[in-house]
């Protein structure tokens, strides 16, 4: 029975990861690769459609309509703004405030835009902004601003003013919008576009395809020197559809299931374990590939925001676990790294409002700098090492719960925790110093007590205290397991807290919001878990005896 459950779970995971692509004809192939200038970047229309549908509806699939179906219906006519229930409002209190029904999540753009309470709040925000006043800390302002952005985007799409697909005249760099039909140069393009849309609406896919191709070549011919190559657009569309990071977390999850189960199925234990490792390596390869693809598309190392750093840290943890595994051949390494990576990648994959997956242009201070890339990658790699220690630390704590008197497994796990911390300390020290080198290079000062710098230092000091405390025997094996959790609080603050909680300093380009309450709750629960295990170990009298 148990085997069956695991096998079916694995099968279901493989299916949901879209590992087997149906070889059906994709009618959106041609429209996907049209180039649009959006948020300072040239991207395929596919990316634009995905991002906007996700932003407006909060979903990529709304009542059976795919993002392309939704997007093209919005492009088709301004009626979509009036009639289509697509703009998502979920905040219950806010819906109450606006007098919207509880059981509905999506509304028409028009009904929201004409909502008197929304108008009133929007006006108030505008007034406050004009007077340079801070918005009061109240959900209604935050929600109103978010809703306004959604409406603005939907309006821009239905009126085609936001569809900046027409390349600029030579010498300019601002792409022109399809909605600008008063421009004699754009009018014929707009006509072609209308023909294309009507072919789509009639369900005439051959014509839709050929009209799109025609539109594409007309757009290219308007200014072929600035129009990006078809290959670069195809590459990004591929990245969008391939979803490498989703595939890798699914493979890591499969590894986790298999590696855990392997010893239970005695007969095929070894064989199954090998399969688990294979899936792990496959996940890692796809993870790496996805990372490289993103680098190529963005034209830079993905070190610009929280989403990218989460992906990178998860990758680092897997890499380190593979290196350690090659040396020590202990499956606990694989288990803990895959747990951490699966959690990290699932979060990255499913929280677009907190961890924004869109590829953005870099803040000026971050542009084209070797030291920056090295410094960020080194520091975040140290987070990966500490995260690996954290994962192993949890395994150790579970082991302590099972055998509060200590065991051989615990001895081994303790070694790995320590090693992970050592690697982390080296990388964090080096990364912090490299940060100084970069700051010196671009700002003319080595160290400036910037909060991000300071928190990296605090995290480093925390682990240094742990390593020294271990050295003089203040920390027992159990103490080290606890330290792996407590020490990570410094990393959490340096990595997430400075950007999302403190929100000050020169590293403000990575600032974001959201998730603070969840992170705090999760941290509290984790510490509670540590406390409970400590209580149990203490009762058994093991806690106060010295290290073996």
């Amino acid at each position: 029975m148990r085997n069956f459950i695991i096998v079916s779970l694995v099968a279901w995971l493989l299916c949901s990861g879209n590992f087997v692509h149906a070889a059906s004809e994709n009618i959106y192939e041609n429209i996907s690769v049209l180039t649009i200038q959006d948020e300072g970047r040239l991207k395929p229309l596919d990316t634009f459609a995905r991002e906007n549908v996700l932003l407006i509806t909060g979903k990529s699939l709304l009542s059976g309509r795919s993002y392309w179906e939704l997007f093209l219906s919005w492009l088709g006519s301004a009626n979509a703004f009036e009639k289509d229930n697509v703009v998502r409002v979920t905040h219950i209190e806010y819906k109450k405030l606006l007098g919207l029904p509880d059981n509905q999540q999506h509304f028409t753009g028009r009904s929201l835009l004409d909502n008197p309470k929304f108008k009133e709040l929007y006006e108030e925000i505008r007034r406050l902004r004009l007077a340079n006043q801070e918005l009061p800390q109240d959900f209604k302002y935050h929600e109103t601003e978010q809703l306004a952005v959604k409406l603005e985007h939907l309006y821009g799409i239905t009126t085609r003013t936001a569809i900046t697909v027409v390349p600029p005249v030579p010498g300019e760099n601002v792409w022109r919008s399809l909605g600008d039909i008063e421009n004699p140069e754009i009018l014929p393009i707009h006509e072609k576009f209308k023909v294309m849309i009507s072919a789509y609406e009639k369900g005439d896919s051959p014509n839709f395809s050929s009209f799109t191709k025609d539109l594409h070549s007309s757009l290219v011919s308007m200014n072929s020197s600035v129009y990006p190559s078809l290959n670069s657009m195809k590459q990004e569309v591929f990245y969008n559809t391939f979803k490498p990071f989703k595939k890798s977390w699914i493979l890591y999850l499969i590894t986790l299931l298999v590696v855990w189960t392997a010893p239970v199925l005695k007969k095929n234990g070894k064989w199954l374990f090998a399969l688990g490792i294979l899936s792990y390596v496959a996940g890692f390869v796809i993870h790496t590939y996805g990372f490289i693809l993103r680098c190529i598309i963005a034209g830079r190392a993905p070190v610009a925001n929280m989403y990218e750093s989460v992906i990178w840290v998860a990758w680092g943890a897997v890499l380190l676990s593979l290196i350690f595994f090659a040396i020590y051949k202990n499956r606990a390494l694989i288990t803990s790294a895959s747990v951490m990576s699966v959690i990290a990648l699932i979060l990255a994959d499913n929280l677009p409002s907190v961890l924004n997956p869109s590829i953005m242009p870099l803040a000026p201070v971050l542009r084209s700098n070797f030291w920056l890339t090295t410094h960020v990658l080194t520091i975040t790699l140290s987070y990966a090492a500490f995260m690996l220690s954290l994962g192993i630390g949890h395994l150790a704590l579970i082991a302590w719960w099972r055998s509060p008197q200590g065991s051989k497994i615990i001895e081994e796990l303790t070694q790995f925790i320590y090693k992970g911390m050592q690697v982390g300390v080296l990388l964090l020290a080096a990364g912090t110093i490299l940060g100084g080198v970069w700051a010196d290079y671009s700002w003319g000062r080595f160290w400036g007590w910037d909060p991000k710098e300071v928190w990296a230092l605090i995290a480093l000091l925390g682990y240094l205290a742990i390593l020294h405390g271990r050295h003089i025997g203040w920390l027992t094996n159990f103490g080290l397991a606890v330290s792996s959790v407590v020490g990570f609080l410094g990393v959490l603050m340096a990595w997430y807290g400075v950007n999302y909680v403190l929100g000050v300093g020169l590293h403000s380009y990575g600032f974001g919001g959201g998730g603070t309450a969840h992170v705090a709750l999760f941290t509290a629960l984790d510490l509670l878990f540590v406390g409970i295990v400590a209580l149990r170990v203490k009762r058994s009298g093991k806690l106060n005896t010295s290290v073996n």
Binding site: Q37, D38, E39, G40, R41, L42, N132, T164, N173, V174, W175, P361, P364, V365, R367, S368, N369, Q415, Q422, V423, V425, L426, A429, A430, I433, G436, V437, D440, Y441, S442, W443, G444, R445, F446, W447, W449, P451, V454, W455, L457, I458, L461, G462, L464, A465, H468, G469, R470, H471, I472, G473, W474, G490, M493, L502, G503, V504, G505, S546, V547
Partner: protein
């Protein structure tokens, strides 16, 4: 016994236990500092923690601990190489940081386009006092975290028993004008209120004060003037002619030596030698609709939307050399500094441009006049014809006939006296902070004067017949070379308004050394010269003025020491971990 004590002290200072305590203590203090920074700002965190003596003492203790721990293990064995390098690295980095802290310079430089500067503005506030033509004395003042209070004034004694004291400090000061009827001379002022169902507005007008006799209140332009005789009063009450100095208005020039008025019409490009004053004024340009295009002030239309005049003032200074100042003055923005971004040659000229829109325009005007019997009259005027005139009585509400707009005179002072005071201002987000202000008391043998001084301003007093000049601002350090800002450009992300790059094109000049170097400073590309590093920090754009580029200036004599320490540290960790078996040990 003695031996034993020193041995014990040494052991304690070299102990790993002390190391753990210091490391954890440092971590906690740093964490608190970041929260202080989030709550207040980086300057506060720097003052209270990072730059404070106790923090430097803790770092010193860490240095001692690390040094002693290494000395304790002498004579060193081969396998301690990694340990030694790591710990030596920390000591070297701390030493380098100390050198930077003591001898380093961290300031900024603000240069307007077309201007040059050699002054590094430091983040330290100073009082500059020049007493009776003597040398300028400077006093460092840092009131933000320890503000002076009455009874605990910051006091400095000057020669001849003169003294100055600071008895109040506002970190963010907002100017507040206190107008009372307690002046010594005639100075009629009225407070006019406009009332309507939509909004109310009010403001003060001074009949005799240039630049303050005009006001835009809601949809109306309001003006207050004085009738010296019956003829003027009649002209006011029975209008039909244009008002005040021809159709292009007039310039009101206030020199320390006296005041003069010049008509703009007919005087453009003609040098005017001012009678009885040593100045020659030339109106170089008249712009009816001044606007900034690119970096230049241009005229956009013939309609007087934003009338503006450019003028030059020439005179001979005490040494007999010719001096010249160029001013730009806007009729609608009398409070705008007319010398902004221009060379100040020291004429101390205050110039106002009084411009009444010509009768042909459609501006709705409300005009007041005070007659020789100190009675007030008003005239409503829509630009073409009189709508109504009458006597304006204090407190009466008068219908204007424009929508439901009413006006009333709330206050009428014949001897108005205006006193500028400062009040604490709330914090503004996303904007430049309001400057700080101090309240000073200057005291001589006989006289005592109290006044406010805004950061960046100066005041010259006459105290017991002696001249005392006091300025309040940031400390500056002169560089042996100048930087001239040729051009400042902001690049944006294509298709957006996000600034993508800021570039200052500068010329470096050093007299003595033959140097005239053109270069650009932009993000990640600082200029390094003479031990100083200049990097692009920010900029200020003010309409009608040249853009000001703000460069950060740093000098770090500890740089190479810190780099050496860093290399030692990292190499040490690598050797310790990977070239020597460093397994967890149970005890020392």
């Amino acid at each position: 016994m003695q031996q034993n004590f020193w041995q014990k002290l040494f052991d304690f200072l070299a102990s790993i236990k002390l190391a753990v305590i210091v490391i954890l203590g440092l971590a906690v203090i740093l964490a608190i500092a970041t929260f202080i920074e989030a709550q207040y700002d980086s300057k506060t965190a720097r003052y209270l923690v990072y730059g404070s003596p106790f923090f430097i003492a803790i770092l010193g203790l860490l240095g001692v601990n690390v040094t002693f721990s290494a000395l304790k293990r002498f004579p060193w064995k081969k396998d301690q190489l990694g340990f030694l390098m790591t710990h030596a690295g920390i000591v070297v980095i701390l030493t380098g940081s100390f050198i930077s802290h003591i001898w380093g310079i961290d300031g900024s430089m603000a240069i307007a386009e077309g201007d040059a500067s050699n002054l590094v503005i430091m983040d330290r506030q100073m009082l500059f006092v020049e007493f009776d033509g003597g040398a300028i004395e400077t006093f460092p003042v840092e009131f933000r975290w320890s503000p002076p209070k009455p009874g605990h004034e910051f006091t400095k004694v000057l020669p001849d028993n003169f003294r100055i004291a600071v008895d109040s400090y506002l970190h963010r000061a907002a100017a507040h004008e206190n107008i009372t009827n307690t002046g010594d001379t005639e100075n009629p002022a009225i407070k006019v209120a406009l009332l309507s169902s939509k909004a109310n507005a009010d403001g003060w007008l001074f009949a005799d004060e240039a630049g303050r006799n005009l006001l835009s209140l809601g949809p109306l332009r309001v003006r207050f003037e004085r009738a010296a005789n019956l003829q003027q009063l009649n002209r006011f009450l029975h209008p039909g002619e244009t008002v005040g100095g021809g159709e292009l208005g007039q310039l009101h020039l206030k020199f320390p030596e006296g005041e003069r008025k010049i008509d703009v019409s007919g005087n453009i490009d003609l040098p005017i030698k001012l009678p009885d004053l040593p100045y020659t004024v030339t109106i170089t340009r008249y712009l009816p609709y001044a606007a900034v295009d690119g970096k230049k002030l241009v005229n956009k239309s013939k309609e007087p939307v934003n009338p503006c005049v450019e003028l030059t003032v020439k005179w001979r200074n005490k040494q007999g050399n010719e001096e010249e100042e160029k001013h730009i003055v806007f009729a609608r923005f009398p409070e705008f500094p007319t010398l902004f971004g221009k060379q100040n040659a020291g004429s101390n000229l205050k110039v106002y441009y009084e411009f009444i829109p010509p009768a042909a325009s459609n501006g709705k005007q409300l005009l007041f006049i005070i007659d020789f019997k100190n009675q007030l009259h008003y005239r409503l005027w829509d630009g073409k014809k009189k709508i109504q005139t009458g006597e304006a009585k204090l407190g009466n509400e008068v219908e204007t006939g424009w929508m439901d707009l009413k006006f009333s005179i709330k206050e009428f002072y014949q001897k108005a006296k205006s006193k500028l005071e400062y009040l604490p201002a709330p914090k503004r987000k996303g904007m430049t902070e309001q400057p700080p202000a101090i309240h000073l008391i200057a005291e001589g043998e006989k006289e005592k004067i109290g006044f406010w001084l805004l950061h960046g301003e100066s005041q010259t007093l006459n105290l017991d017949g002696k001249k005392v000049s006091i300025a309040y601002g940031n400390a500056t350090i002169p560089l042996p070379f100048t930087i001239q800002l040729e051009k400042f450009t902001v690049g944006r992300d294509p298709g957006t308004n996000n600034p993508a790059s800021f570039t200052s094109n500068v010329i470096l000049d050093q007299s003595g050394v033959f140097l005239h170097k053109k270069t650009s400073i932009y993000m990640n590309n600082p200029l390094k010269w003479g031990g100083y590093t200049f990097y692009q920090s920010s900029y200020q754009e003010i309409p009608g003025q040249p853009t000001v580029s703000i460069l950060s200036v740093g000098k770090d004599p500890g740089r190479s020491v810190k780099y050496a320490g860093s290399i030692l540290l990292i190499a040490g960790i690598i050797i310790m971990y990977f070239f020597k078996k460093f397994l967890p040990k149970t005890n020392v």
